[in-house]
Amino acid sequence: MTRWFEDIVVNEAFDLGDYTFTEEEIVRFGRLYDPQYFHVDKDAAGQSHFGGLVASGWHTVCVGHRKMVDALFAEEERLRGLGREPGISGPSPGVNAMEFKAPVRPGDTVRYTLTVTGKRPSNSIPGWGLLFNKLEAVNQHAEMVYHAELVGFSKLRDYRMPLRLRALTALARIPMIGKALRRGT
């Protein structure tokens, strides 16, 4: 979440709220990114084993991501309201696993929950930590729609660059040396 890496609590769960999928949105997303007949053509979809239109799994996942971003922004506001400085979230390096369990039909309401399952400092990017999150999406009948293992970056508050790196960064600011250093890497 939008907290410093040090303040992220493993096993903490966040209710990201819910979202109702309309037929219009299901078809619009399908036409743009996943134009298989059961996502875009109501009549043809009736012939599929789904028996009607269903949302692209990628659509349900993109909405889940949006709910997560909204929750990050809300947490940022909450921290500012308490007079605390929020942390910094970075881009995600990937997703370990995503399983679609039940289709989403027009009118379905999906509730999203995020749970932090683990964290560790990044080996490749100094000053940043990796967060491991579980995202669960459940429909109005309490059926699991999908669950996922996500990975994200969060900045360390108390990171101090090692002396050698600080010296290199300072040297790199001098134009000639910076050029030579970059050529060397």
């Binding site: 743009l32 990114y33 996943d34 134009p35 298989q36 007949y37 059961f38 043809a44 012939q47 599929s48 084993h49 789904f50 269903v54 692209s56 799994g57 990628w58 996942v61 993109c62 909405v63 991501h65 949006r66 971003v69 979230s89 970075g90 881009p91 995600s92 390096p93 990937g94 997703v95 370990n96 696993a97 995503m98 399983e99 679609f100 289709p103 990017i125 940043w128 999908y146 970056f153």
Partner: protein, 164 residues
């Protein structure tokens, strides 16, 4: 029971492990990046050039979910739309390797990694696809392994276990 929508498409029996499909290409514009980000990924580093320059991405780049969505679109147009697909099961090991910047053209291949029958549903097979998406410089952009259901032409055919 034949599905009239898919009857003339390739079925599970027509597919082979190792088959490679060219995904085609798509060029990602600033408008595409910003409009997708507004809807699904409104972080400042996907919306605003200045914020993007100061971020880990180093410039305005598409949401990883947009890169995935565009890759999915290419997959449906080049392959999935031509087979008797019965829906996605999920994916594993999705890795965003390099950001997709404004003006980049992405493309690549998808390879059939595995084919197996479903034990619970004899009418379906499970296809596993490896994505390899690159930019115009040949740098890797995204890899993932996707699983999808495919209808069988002959569901009554015995399920043969392949040797381990």
């Amino acid at each position: 029971m034949t599905n009239p929508v898919t009857k003339d498409l390739r079925h599970f029996e027509d597919l082979e492990v190792g088959e490679v499909t060219d995904l085609g290409k798509v060029t990602v514009t600033k408008d595409m990046i910003v409009s997708f980000a507004r809807e699904f990924d409104p972080f400042p580093f996907h919306l605003d050039e200045k914020a993007a320059k100061e971020s880990l991405l180093g410039g305005l780049a598409s949401s990883g979910w947009q890169t995935g969505a565009l890759s999915l679109r290419m997959l449906v147009e080049s392959f999935l739309g031509n087979i008797a697909s019965a829906g996605g099961l999920g994916f594993k090991n999705l890795k965003w390797k390099n950001p997709v910047m404004v003006g980049d053209t992405i493309g690549g291949t998808v390879t059939i990694a595995e084919l197996r029958r479903s034990h619970h549903h004899p009418e379906w097979g499970i296809i596993t696809l490896d994505f390899d998406v690159k930019n115009q410089k040949g740098q890797p952009v995204m890899t993932m392994r996707l699983s999808n259901l495919v209808e069988l032409r002959d569901p009554a055919a015995p399920i043969l276990e392949t040797a381990p």
